[in-house]
Each structure stands twice: as C-alpha cells, then as structure tokens.
Amino acid sequence: MARMTIRPPTDAALASGGVRVRPGASAARWDSWLRRLPLLPALIYVILVTQIPFVLTLFYSLQDWNLLRPEPARFAGLQNYTAVMSDPSIRIAIWNTIVLTVCAVAISVVFGIGIALLLNREIFGKGLLRTLMIGPFLVMPTAAALMWKDTLLNPLTGLVNYVLKPIGLGNMDWINQFPMASIVGIEVWRWTPFMMLIVLAGLQSQNQEVLEAARVDGARPAQMFRYITLPFIRPFVELGALLGSLFIVQSFDVIFMTTQGGPGQATTNLPFLLYLVAFQGFDIGKASAIGVIAVILTMIVATFALRTLFTIFHVEARR
C-alpha cells in the first residue's frame, strides 16, 4: 500500500516524544545537548565533506591555478568568471543540461503513467511484468550505455537498424546523427521504470470503493481518470518528476560512454564540461568558477524544487 506519510515533527510530537522538562534552565540545556549528541557525528561528517569543500571552491575560483603548469597559484580576482562567461561553451552546456533534463523527465513521466495504468489493470502475470519493467533502472548505467551504443544503435551491426530496415531506416548512425535524441532516449529508457514504480504505488493505494461508486453513477472511464485518478496520483507524479530531474541534471555516465560530449559540443552538459575543464585541462581556477556557477543555478531551481518537495512530504495518507 502506498501512502505518503513523512512529515516534519510537530510541536506536539516534540513534546510527547521528549523527556519531561525538569525545572531549571541548566537541566533543560543539558537535555537538549544530550538529544543532539547522536546527531552530531553525521552532521559534522556532512559539513566536513560538503560545506567546507564548497567554501574552498569559492576560494579556488578566485585563483589562477593550473595543475599542469609549474607556477604556484596566485590571486586572479574575477578573471576565471569572465573567462568562463565569455566562452560560449558554458552557455551551450547550460542549454544542453536543460534540454536533456526537461525532455527526459517529461517523456519518462508520460510513459511511466501510461505503463503504470496498464500494469494496474486486471492482467495476466502482473508481478512478472513489473519485475521485467524495473530491469532498465537496475542495470549499471555505464554498462547499459555501452550496450546501446555498440550493439543496439550501432550503424552496422546494431539490432535497431536491423529491425527498422523493412521501413527503410536501416542505415542510420543514430548516435552521430541524433546525438542528443539518442542520449534522451537512453535516459528515458532508464527512468521510465522509476516513474512507473512510483505512480503504480500511488494507483494501488487508490480507494476502489470511490471508483466503484463513480462507475455505478455512470461515469465514463475517461471521466473517472480525469476527475478521480489523476488528482489522486498527482503528488506521486510530482515526487517522481522532482527526484528524476535532480538525478538527470547530474547525468554524466551515459554521455561519457556514448558521445563523450560530442559531436562538437552537441551533448556536453554541465557535469561533462566540468569534467573536461577539471580533469582534462586541470584548470583548477576555471573548474571552480564553473562549480560556483552550477551551484548558483541549482539554488535558483532548488528553492522552487524544495518547496515542492516540502508540500509533497506534507501530504497525509489520503484514503
């Protein structure tokens, strides 16, 4: 049964879950420190590995520092930022990131809803089909990307061209002719099962009596979907789309394995550009500036996304 139940603790939960507050300010302070104790190791760990490095990223972004050159780092002001911003490759990378994320999420959400509706019907072998469907999500992405490139979309030996030959599409070099579409396609193949799982869990928690009552009252299937099912699964769809975009925005493995960001810059997204500057050019200053820009962009999107997440996790059991 699917329910969305995570909610931040309320004051009532805080009061009832706690040790009775003893009189005396020092006792209360002692108690609140005692409560914090189990949290501290994890919190300190996260701050050490994510927050302090980010401060260093800010610092490095102001340095002229390349690991391939013998000179030591020196202060460079905003030089890295002007260099990055005046280079068209960052604009291309931002645009590619948006195209890839929006297309892959939108298509996999639509497919996911469709397949979830199908697997929620009275059909033969429901459990087995669900098991087959989640296969693409579980396969190692690097492995799947290489299999797509070498054995399925390969212009000479690929199975896709072999299958499409009867309709006259037997000589396509998919990855070189349609690089972005190929990447989107592989990501859709991988993320549709993810969306399907979440939506299916939502559908299975739907109250059957409501649907039955609507049917008795003479509602048509399309009406029932539009006015009962769709509003019910909406939070599940939003959750899937949100988590999916947070992952796909960072996608790197499929691009690395299939196109290496090319041809030209056709499939270079932000993570791949960062990889090129940091680990091919070893330009620490410029890579850090790209890092800071990526964080700023993410924060703009995330303030919106986190608000959505917030409302989603507030949703109480609806039944």
Partner: protein, 281 residues
C-alpha cells in the same frame, strides 16, 4: 440477471483482459529487451556478437564469461564490493543515531536539519569536486578505495537518514516509552529496542546504498586509475569499440550489473520506499 445475458458480458471481460495483457506484455518486453540482449550477447562468440545481420539463433557459450572472470575483471569487482560495503556500513553507523535524534527523541529544529541534509544530496558535485580532488591528491588518497568510501558515504548518508527516520516514526510509541520509564539510557534504547525493530529499514537503506555506490561512475572515473578502479571503470576500456570485443563487453556488463539487478528484484518493496526516501510505501 439471466444466465444467457451474463455469459457475453464475462466473455467480453475476458477478451478485454487478454487484450490489455497482450499490450502490457509487449511494452514490458520491449523495455526489458536491452537487458536480455546484453546477457544474450555475452553468451555468444565474438564473431556472432558482431555479425551483420545480428545473430538471433545460436548455441550459447560461457566462454566469454569465464574469460572475463579468469583474467583482469575480478580486482575491479572486489574494489566495487569494498567501496560499496565500506560506505554502506559507515552510512548505517552514522545514520542510525542521527535518524534516532530526528525521530524518536527529536532535537529542536529537526525539520531544518532534515532539509539541510537532503539539500547536500542534491548539491551538484561541481560544488565540492575540485577541493576534494586536491585534498585526495595531497593526502595521497587518489586511486585509493578509502577516498571512494568517504565520497559514497557522503552521497548516501542523507538518503539513509531520511529513510531510517521514516521507519523509526512507525514504531509503536508505547514500546519506546516503556523502555524509557524503565530508565534505559539513550544508547541502550537505540541498540536494544529500536535496532531490532527496524531491520526492514536497515535492509531498505542498504539496498539504496548498494544501488548508488555500486553503479557510481563520476567519482570513480576521476579519483581512481588502476589500483582502486571499480567495475564501471573496467567497462571504460571497451569504449574505443573497434567491433572486436562485443561479446566480452556484454559478458562484463552483465556481470557488473548482476548484483544490483538481483538485489533490486528480490527487494522490490524496499526499492520503491528507498528510492523515494521513505515517502511512498
């Protein structure tokens, strides 16, 4: 309703069930096909795997699997296993007390802490990549499994804490309360009472850690080269794709995918809950 009238209706129902089933089977098999094809290619000989047109009917051979396994692949698999288990263990050690402090005996401003934690999970790796790389370089931790364990723990800890917390919130309140009346210390309460009750939560957390750590590629490719390289890095060696080693590639890809595939299939219920950080059960 008469019997005569009922019969066509049930036949219509059956027909529609058959029709929808056929459609569902068609789509599911289409999605699963690349996974199946990967395994099939691994069971072919090299000429069969690269033939034009593709070989559909063939006598399966385990030659590629045994060759990949008998040569250079096992060290990569062992590295993957070490990075995965090391980081999963660390996530549980750090995450269980933290989840406890965010659910059973919540600290003040628990909500802010929870959202801070999850925001670090979705911070672009660009934010901390360069300093972590420099630090690893200066500490001679490049190409060292330890660096991957630290990074994978960072990736999985926020998800782990959210997930474990969602399981702890479901524990019957009276149980924890009774132990508290008996004067159990916090540590005792966590280890003796909470821990045994949330084994499903620990399983779900371990599964999610396994999926993300085992399949992780970005840090693995940039922070390791030979000694500590994990299994996806082994596959990078096939990138040049001169069309000679498709069967070996497929065998290695199948082997590399198998642990997560099997774990995910066996724990489907845990999978959905884990992927949504406990929001969907």
């Amino acid at each position: 309703m008469s019997v005569v009238a009922a019969r066509p209706r049930s036949r219509g129902l059956l027909l529609s069930k058959v029709g929808w089933s056929a459609l569902a089977w068609l789509i599911s098999i289409a999605f699963f096909f690349p996974v199946l094809w990967m395994a099939l290619e691994g069971l072919k000989t090299e000429p069969q795997a690269a033939s034009i047109p593709p070989t559909i009917l063939f006598v399966p051979t385990l030659a590629q699997f045994s060759e990949v396994l008998s040569r250079d692949f096992p060290p990569y698999l062992i590295n993957s296993a070490m990075a995965t288990f090391g980081s999963t263990l660390l996530v549980l050690i750090l995450g269980l007390p933290a989840a406890y402090a965010l659910s059973i005996r919540p600290v003040k401003r628990s909500r802010d802490v929870l959202f801070f934690l999850i925001s670090t999970r979705f911070l672009p790796f660009a934010a901390s990549l360069v300093p972590l790389y420099i630090l690893a370089r200066n500490l001679h931790l490049l190409d060292n499994i330890f660096a991957l364990v630290i990074i994978y723990t960072t990736i999985n800890l926020p998800l782990g804490i959210w997930l474990l917390r969602s399981f702890m919130l479901e524990l019957p309140h009276e149980l924890v309360e009774a132990a508290r009346v008996d004067g159990a210390s916090m540590r005792h309460e966590l280890i003796r009472i909470v821990l045994p009750l949330i084994t499903p939560g620990i399983a779900a957390t371990s599964l999610i850690c396994l999926i993300f750590a085992w399949n992780e590629f970005f840090y693995a490719v940039n922070f390791t080269s030979s000694v500590a390289a994990t299994s996806p890095i082994f596959l990078v060696g096939f990138i040049s794709g001169r069309g000679l080693f498709y069967a070996k590639l497929a065998a290695a890809a199948t082997l590399a995918s198998l642990p997560v595939l099997l774990a995910g299939w066996f724990a489907q219920k845990q999978l959905i809950r884990g992927l949504t950080m406990g929001a969907v059960k």
